[in-house]
Symmetry: C2
Subunit: 347 residues, 2 copies
């Protein structure tokens, strides 16, 4: 087997012309029943796969995809996404892909809507976006739909029939993992779930994690823990957490549902003497620092880079190679400890 079968080969075998084979392949009609059967039989026998390279040669269009995400300068959680975009460009750019990236202010719904309008004006073939604001995202997605622009989402899930694809994680499960981790390193005491709320509302995100976390402890046979939930703000953080911990002095383990765990770690390191177990999210440099020095015990990696990479890659391969786009892609949830966060292994 040194050569692939071509349409011409099949035509010869069936004793027809390549035009007829082509018509059979694409159901374009105008084929007699006899010819159809002859060709179909051979196609089945050899399991013919048309050469993808030749198939796309004629199609010398440049597909245009826009990516819309929160500004990494305002929240470094999003930083790795840029690397993911870059990787796709490096890997598939030579196939004729044009990718533009847009940032919105994660504290401003107006900015989100504005940037979406900008993208809509450009009229790309598809857009990959983070639907951070539920209500506004629905509006934006409707707009894309009317313009015939395909929409994929990542990081935040949103219920919408016109969204072609979602790449993210199972946040409920993610909460359960955090609970298991905390449970395995705690030696008794109470537990805190801390949501560090940014100005923007990713409440659903945080709630799903909380639900998962609680569900794990509910299933425990000897449930001797009390779970306290707190919603702290970035501003005046140290004061609020001090009050919270004073109110619940028996807390021995904390689960932070956002990437802002380093604030808690910072407070604990400087103000608390006893050992408090700490499980947080995301590989920000600040978090890794506290992971390495032992203040944070585990980080859960949401892998924003991989989310972006896969989201884009699915779109590109859909356009280039007619690959079907999975409606949902749930990434594995990575557990990171101090020995596991080396930069050459994670992004």
């Amino acid at each position: 087997m040194l050569k692939k079968y071509t349409i011409r080969d099949i035509a010869e075998m069936a004793g027809v012309s390549k035009g007829t084979v082509d018509r059979v392949l694409h159901n374009r009609g105008k084929v007699s029943e006899i010819a159809f059967k002859k060709v179909s039989k051979i196609l089945d026998e050899i399991d013919f796969k048309p050469n993808l390279i030749a198939k796309n040669l004629k199609n010398n269009k440049i597909y245009h995809i826009c990516v819309l995400l929160p500004d990494p300068k305002m929240d470094s959680y999003w930083d790795p996404c840029l690397k993911g975009i870059d990787d796709v460009i490096k890997e598939l750019g030579a196939f004729g892909i044009n990718i533009d990236t847009f940032f919105f202010d994660p504290t401003s719904t107006k900015s989100f809507l504005n940037k979406n309008l900008m993208v809509q004006k450009i009229k790309p073939d598809a857009v990959l976006l983070v639907p951070l604001f539920f209500k506004e995202a629905i509006v934006a997605i409707e707009g894309y739909n009317e313009l015939g622009i395909m929409v994929s989402t990542f990081n935040n899930h949103i219920e919408s029939a016109v969204v072609k694809s979602f790449i993210g994680q199972n946040l409920f499960q993610s909460g359960r993992i955090a609970a298991k981790l905390l449970h395995s390193i705690m030696k008794g005491g109470d537990i805190a779930i801390i949501h560090i709320d940014e100005k923007y509302k990713n409440a659903i995100h945080m709630q799903e994690k909380e639900q998962g976390f609680k569900s794990y402890y509910k299933e425990l046979a000897h449930f001797g823990h009390e779970i306290h939930v707190s919603n702290l703000k970035n501003t005046d953080f140290n004061k609020s957490i001090a009050i919270f911990l004073l109110k619940h002095p028996n807390i021995k383990g904390i689960f932070v549902t956002t990437s802002k765990g380093f604030h808690v770690a910072d407070y604990i390191q400087n103000n608390i003497n006893k050992n408090i177990a700490l499980v947080c999210y995301d590989l920000l440099v600040e978090n890794i620092t506290y992971l390495k020095n032992g203040t944070i015990d585990f980080l859960i990696h949401q892998n924003p880079k991989q989310q972006t990479y896969l989201g884009l890659k699915c779109l590109v391969e859909y356009f280039l190679f007619d690959k079907e786009v999975p409606s949902q892609l749930l990434l594995p949830i990575d557990i990171i400890n101090s020995e596991n966060a080396t930069p050459f292994m994670r992004d």
Copy 2:
């Protein structure tokens, strides 16, 4: 930007023919200095990337790659590899790739050598193999080299100049991660490192993990643990481990360096009353069972599927798209707990 630049576009812009542009692109010589400069300038300006699709259209060769790994029927650790191979075929098969898989008996060096000879007779373009037996692998690789067959390896590292690529994990680091995990869940007591040796010798594998594990504990400030190392055999396992644990009654944590941790878990569950922390390797169904019921605390995922997938993909993309093959690809080391092993997320 609706159309890509082509060689013909550049030729027009530079006022030469596409033949000249082609010669500049490939440094084929026979170009005057003036023409070379004109063309180079334009190439730089527009950052020209030749259309990969057209580039490979002529090359209608079917590349043939053989994969050689231990028989999954004899050691289910290798099972996921088949899925990895399958994924590559699904993803890139239509580009003209022919992949054949061969199994050898992981307990027999003779089988390993035999299968390698079989592959060499076939003369594929490349082979991706698990160099389980150090000495024999060197011989086999030499054979491939003489035949001009490219060799990539995965899972087991081997020092050889003619091996094009290795995909695997940093085992030393992997040992450190295990140590950190064990340390974070243990409440004092001694530690055991247990190598469950198969008949075959993957001693280097296990030793690197042991080194890493010990290095973590060496760095600890208050090193109050004693570490006992044991080499147990599969046969008469329960007896040997009973003796070992009797000799060291203070053991409170065990690190198993192979995928055979379930044997230890089985013994502990049925014979030991006190709580022993257990960190092992690999997502075998047996291991996952003990992970879910709490006997095993953590599994470290060596991701054999991903190793196979990436190893193959690198080779395929090298042949198809001239991508360079990384000489070493170290996969992230995944930490798995009971909440993290759901089959839809891991392979």
